[in-house]
Amino acid sequence: MPALDRDDVAHLARLSRLQLSDAELDHFGEQLDVILSAVARVAEVAADDVPPTTHAVPVVNVTRPDVIVACLPREDVLAGAPAAEDDRFRVPRILDEEEQ
């Protein structure tokens, strides 16, 4: 299992919009290595006859009918917002990315 190098950690931090110092990059890199090697040990146990899965139980096709259910009252919705204005969530300005 190749260890994550500092560039990998810096890249992940950038994707999560986290600004980390070099010391922090090394620190989190070590922590991530521990997690990855733990997962790698599980992978060693899984033989070829054990198929990969994302669910503990084999359930498929759980759906619901297209029927409207009550929504949250807007006061409750916006009560959870860090800031609100004009009945909308207010967020700090978004730089360097364009709107959808």
């Binding site: 994707l15 807007r74 959870g80 969530f89 967020v91 364009e98």
Partner: protein, 509 residues
């Protein structure tokens, strides 16, 4: 085409003389289900902000999504209509990105296990040498959810750059979307823009025929991203592509493709390289401008969605859905052509004007197809061109046009007055009857008033009167013209002609 941009362009002809364009389209279709993809919130367009949200679509901790069965059915029907194979095993995946349009910080989409793969859409492309059949390969159709709407506040432009902060309405977050992705499209270079237009037109018609979405491009319920790359003639490997986002009308798709071909050709001709980026289309001048650089943004770290079960459609279910598919648009058009007795060329101009459905709806109300075509592809299409809008985006309905046709058949409107009624309806003055009243547009049907005008005209042009008396019936045209002028166009020309001939006949008798 002239476009005001700082970037140099080659002419389209010069561009395609050297380069072969390759296109690809990603079309997002908002489904018309009553509820969202993974929760029971309504999807109705235009509700007050943040009134159609719940713990699931807000991504609150502990909330569990459940798939909307109707949305899966719509996805399968779209897949089947596009000739795709429906996956025996299909899964949702999390597309992780950092942007506040999704409160979860990821969009639930499908990645390597889409619901439908490998299909094709047959289209007909109008060319100078007549209609040309082209087959567009479909790579996949997958299910995902729409994002919230962001309003950028402050700054001069309402765009993100220079904004002070942003406001978000999550009503749209979680509305079911189907993304339809083509395989690379390589056609005769000169035809590329027309193929782009024909593909989106055909796809839209198919979606509407399936009844799975209203597919209004101007309202965003159908959105097109156009990928374009160029390669020097003779080269096999693809060039670097750009992705022009959210092109919001069928006409704009054609313009955006043409512009990118011209722009990229100028860049390559100058020995520079194309940057892989998203670009924004500008309706005002048909240009595109640079958006964000794609490289990093594509690092979405997809992984299978653990909160949703795989979709494993039984073949009986698929066959049941297959039985609900509508007549394919191409076949349907052939049938309609026969019914209306029109040529493929006339059918193409109907489709190019975006007027086929509207004409059909007008005919369904009882109008003659020739009358319906005349108004939708004539006056109304002319105005839509003038305003740079699709015909369907104009505020005039098949009911309005049907009524206008009925009024002309009754003889209370002539063509000139009918055009004024259309103008009034488009100006928001009410329905045709209301416009007729408020603008006082009924034709002069009082024979007495018409005869008076005819007598005056005959007296003013005695030589013409003489010719008519001498049997030169076509000379009556000059008198008809004079009467139309003196009544301000508010006369029924056919009736005026009748009366002139009667009048002259009377004086002979």
């Amino acid at each position: 085409m002239t476009a005001t941009t700082s970037e140099p362009l080659l002419t389209f002809e010069d561009a395609i003389a050297t380069f072969d364009p390759v296109m690809g389209f990603e079309v997002h279709v908002e489904l018309n289900t009553l509820t969202k993809m993974f929760c029971g919130c309504p999807t109705e367009f235009g509700a007050p902000p943040n009134t159609q949200v719940c713990p699931v679509c807000l991504g609150l901790p502990g909330a569990l999504p459940v798939v909307n069965e109707k949305a899966v059915e719509s996805a399968i029907r779209i897949g089947l209509a596009l000739g795709c194979s429906i996956a025996e095993w299909s899964r949702f995946a999390r597309k992780n990105y950092f942007y506040p349009d999704m409160p979860k910080d990821f969009q639930t989409s499908q990645y390597d296990e889409p619901i439908a793969v490998n299909g094709a859409l047959a289209i007909v492309v109008p060319t100078e040498d007549g209609p040309r059949p082209v087959t567009v390969g479909i790579e996949r159709a997958h299910m995902e959810e729409d994002t919230g709407k962001i309003l950028h506040v402050g700054g001069a432009t309402g765009r993100i750059h220079g904004a002070d902060y942003s406001l978000i309405d999550y009503n749209r977050a979680g509305v079911p979307l189907i993304e339809i992705v083509t395989k690379p499209i390589e056609v005769e270079p000169a035809l590329a823009p027309a193929v782009a237009r024909a593909y989106v037109t055909e796809l839209r018609e198919l979606i509407v025929a399936l009844g799975v979405s209203d597919a209004h491009m101007h309202q965003g319920s159908m959105r097109v991203d156009a990928n374009v790359s160029l390669k020097p003639r003779g080269r096999v490997e693809l060039g670097t592509r750009t992705e022009t986002k959210n092109v919001n009308s069928i006409r704009s798709v054609e313009r955006a493709v043409r512009f990118e071909i011209q722009r990229q050709a100028a860049v390559l001709q100058a020995g520079e390289t194309i940057i892989q980026e998203t670009r924004h289309f500008h309706e005002s001048d048909g240009s595109t401008t640079s958006g964000r650089i794609k490289e990093e943004a594509e690092d979405y770290r997809y992984f299978p969605e653990p909160d949703l079960t795989p979709i494993v459609p039984e073949s009986a279910w698929i066959e049941r859905l297959r039985a609900t598919l509508p007549e394919p648009p191409l076949k349907r058009r052939a049938r309609i052509r026969e019914e209306w007795g029109i040529s493929e060329h006339e059918m193409q101009s109907l489709i190019n004007a975006g007027a086929l459905e509207l004409v059909q709806q007008t005919v369904a109300l009882g109008a003659d197809s020739a009358d319906a075509r005349k108004w939708w592809t004539g006056e109304i299409a002319r105005i839509s061109n003038e305003r740079g809008l699709d015909v369907a985006a104009l505020p005039i309905t098949p009911q309005d046009v049907h009524r206008i046709i009925m009024l002309t058949i009754e003889g209370s409107l002539n063509d000139k007055l009918a055009r004024q009624v259309i103008e009034g309806v488009l100006a928001g003055e009410g329905n045709p009857d209301e416009v007729v009243v408020s603008r006082d547009l009924a034709v002069v049907s009082d024979d007495g008033a018409l005869l008076e005008a005819i007598d005056t005209a005959l007296a003013q042009q005695p030589d013409v009167a003489e010719k008519i008396r001498g049997g030169k019936v076509q000379a009556a045209g000059a008198i008809v013209g004079a009467v139309m002028q003196s009544t301000g166009g508010m006369a029924d020309a056919a009736r005026v002609r009748e009366l002139i001939l009667e009048r002259v006949g009377d004086s002979l008798g």
